[in-house]
Symmetry: C2
Subunit: 462 residues, 2 copies
């Protein structure tokens, strides 16, 4: 049996019903779909695109397994010829996309699929599912990185992430956005991400005394122990760490790496604990903070000068709690060489296969983006690049280290106001004249068609 996350039926049923309707009408000309975000969440100035590596895996491995076909036969609403046709169903199309770690804005396509209609349509649900979530997390995590101003950041969020895949992929997305490591162990063998781990309150509780717990942990992980000091009384625990640290050094030549504070007024406690450790001759023991942190809490602690060396950031980053979803859409922009768009209230989009041209100033800072037709000759760097052709990746994907470097460089190149944690004047994204003209033509053609339709049906009805 396939992994459930790789089953073709991990999709919306309507992808299958539409496929059957296309099959019965023999519709399968070339379609172009694009994925974009309609508007940024409140308070946000940019997105960080992520998830492309997992999308490529999905597109390469997409096939209906015997389990999937058996269910389609059993459920009684599908045509046998149609079901048989799914035996050979593969993704054979082209994918163009912005590289992972690219900073993006509203209305800009992050990827473009050009494929036979049925393939391009069917992949919608899982494609959005994969790109949306990692983009949500990378965009949130990048804000934490900005707020932390160089302090260590560790992803702590597996337990309250929304399921297994969210736990794993948020470790990846936060790392590529600039986090230093994750607590999620499986992210190390699967993605090569550094992992970090300390102890839980239960570890302190289970020992006969807090000092016993600290000694046991330090002896199990010489030179690498971070001790959790807020189980009972943070200040009293810090006072106990001082003689323990000296004893461990003198008896066993072992150092304590850090202490962790997970509750209370983190800034005030960190200052008091720093004072106790320094006065006790332990200036090398670091202070790590965790507990309900996000970019706002981190920025506040940094602004007040709290002596905190690193932050464990969990739930609020992994669920992107203030903006847990993006208003994104995967839309048909061309079918059989005919550019298209819909006009639904508040949900119109730009027709035709497009490109984003990014223009920089002479100092390397970003100046503006232009949303244009893919075949327009416009100055600027085209963000969408060829990734797959005829269903095959053109090259191995970039290493996570390269993606991290891209995020760093792109955020550094943003106009400074866009790096603030509150919404500011949006980054300028201009729509080319040719694209604006095309949109008007597409709407006019659709209106003519609708009028003809209406007339025909009214005539039929008479």
């Amino acid at each position: 049996m396939q992994r459930y996350s790789e089953r073709a039926l991990l999709t919306d049923l309507y992808e299958v019903t539409m496929l059957q309707a296309y099959y019965l009408r023999r519709m399968n000309q070339t379609a172009v779909f694009e994925l974009f975000v309609r508007r940024l969440p409140d308070g946000r100035n940019f997105l960080v695109a992520a998830g492309l590596a997992q999308l490529i895996d999905y597109l390469e491995s997409l096939r209906f397994g015997e389990d999937d076909l058996a269910w389609l036969r059993e459920c009684g609403r599908f045509d046998p010829g149609f079901i048989a046709s799914l035996n050979d169903f593969r993704f054979t199309g082209d994918l163009d996309a912005v590289p992972e770690g690219t900073v993006m804005f509203a209305d800009e396509p992050v990827l473009r699929i050009r494929a036979p209609l049925r393939e391009a349509q069917f992949i919608e649900s899982r494609l959005v599912n994969l790109i949306h979530y990692q983009t949500v997390v990378a965009s949130k995590a990048a804000r934490c990185v900005i707020a932390a101003q160089g302090r260590t950041l560790v992803d702590f969020g597996l337990r309250r992430a929304h399921g297994a895949e969210a736990g794993l992929l948020s470790a990846r997305a936060s790392y590529l956005a600039g986090f230093d490591s994750t607590a999620t162990a499986l992210a190390a063998p699967l993605f090569g991400i550094p992992v970090a781990g300390t102890m839980a309150h239960s570890f302190v509780q289970a020992h006969a005394s807090e000092a016993d717990a600290y000694a046991a942990f330090a002896q199990a992980f010489p030179d690498n122990a971070t001790l959790l000091i807020d189980t009972y009384d943070t200040i009293a625990a810090a006072r106990m760490v001082v003689p323990l640290a000296h004893w461990l050094w003198e008896e066993e030549r072992t150092r304590i790496k850090a202490v962790r504070i997970d509750s209370g007024d983190l800034g005030a406690l960190a200052s008091a604990v720093r004072g106790i450790l320094d006065a006790g001759g332990c200036p090398d023991i670091g202070i790590f903070a965790s507990g309900n942190l996000d970019e706002f809490a981190i920025a506040a602690l940094v602004a007040q000068g709290a002596p905190i060396d690193g932050f464990g950031v969990g739930t609020r980053m992994n669920t992107s709690s203030d903006a847990p979803y993006l208003d994104c859409a995967y839309k048909l922009v061309e079918y059989d060489h005919r550019p298209l768009r819909k006009r639904s209230a508040g949900k119109a989009f730009w027709p035709g296969a497009k490109q984003v041209l990014r223009r920089a100033r002479s100092d390397g800072g970003l100046q503006e983006d232009v949303l244009a037709l893919a075949d327009e000759d416009q100055p600027g760097d085209g963000l969408l690049q060829p990734v797959m052709r005829a269903g095959k990746p053109l090259a191995a994907g970039p290493a996570l280290s390269g993606i991290r470097a891209r995020v760093r460089a792109q955020i550094a190149a943003l106009p400074p106001a866009l790096r603030l944690l509150k919404a500011t004047q949006p980054y300028p994204v201009r729509v080319s004249e040719k694209l604006q003209r095309l949109a008007g033509e597409v709407d006019a053609a659709q209106e003519r068609q609708a009028a003809m339709d209406q007339a025909r049906w009214e005539q039929d009805a008479e």
Copy 2:
């Protein structure tokens, strides 16, 4: 290779580091942990417990695969004897839990693990991950069910759910909370949940005309077609559906089931479309609405009498967008027969193995819950029931139909104010005198121990 979602390393690294420290100290007496929610999200009056079936699967199948052990060996920080001991690591403990679909309140344990310390500790991360997410979704979905007052509800949220498992498990959690079906196809073969699906805007766009698209779909799914009518102009599309419906009936004896509106002022459009369909002799064509819906939007549409027969509810339910996480914790309450708790600021909890006793009035309505020690003799129905003993489930889990019935009955038994969509006077959860006394004793014992510790370390330091 195991599925990633079943790998033992899908856990926080600290679960492994603590295990090594326990191994080296030979600590493995019986521990009792409980999972509870510290406080309800803003605006919420109750939770619906969910996820137990997936937790049982996890506990039964937990083992370190060769891949997991290989990584532990490679990463260099673990003791070879410890790693070898993980070869035989299994969950051999007891699980008591409230049945899925039980209505719960703050501070009440939803489950209790009693097992050798290492097992009880190690399972923490994935246990919380599994119970937390489904409880988040079931609690949100139950509010949508209350708001919909009997109208059909369909889960539409796979694409913006946080990953594959979230998509699948939110289909399950929303169905058990009372949704009628899901659009996520794989939920049918995996969980036996009814699935529903219509068409996307792209389907309308790809056809030469809107009427062609509708005819193609109706012919592919006779008597079962729901037509999406907001791609260009909702009112014009509804006017076209009337003659099309008559034509389909006269030519092919096929009925159109419903139309779907996905944008704009859903209430006003539904009224207008209802008028057009009724005036055109199509009173049997239903109206289905979708687009940014949650319990508040549904309640507003129902209150204004919008003629909507069913709602597709996606992103805001699957991400629980107004409360994407619960402040839940899995805490050690007893070790080696010693009751325990921590006292961290704002994060204290009740010590000892506990039970929740639920008391009903003579009319069946809920009166109050009592949080008591598990061995107290208190009136009321004990919510926590034996589920696993010595690592094995005691019985097959209940069918989803039974869980749905439980949710319905429990929500019907709530004091009416608690069924409102805004926060109200909290449901009374009393803490037994014996439990309050025990908490005081545990704190006093810990303080004595801390004082002894402090004195000893200060002496050592001199």
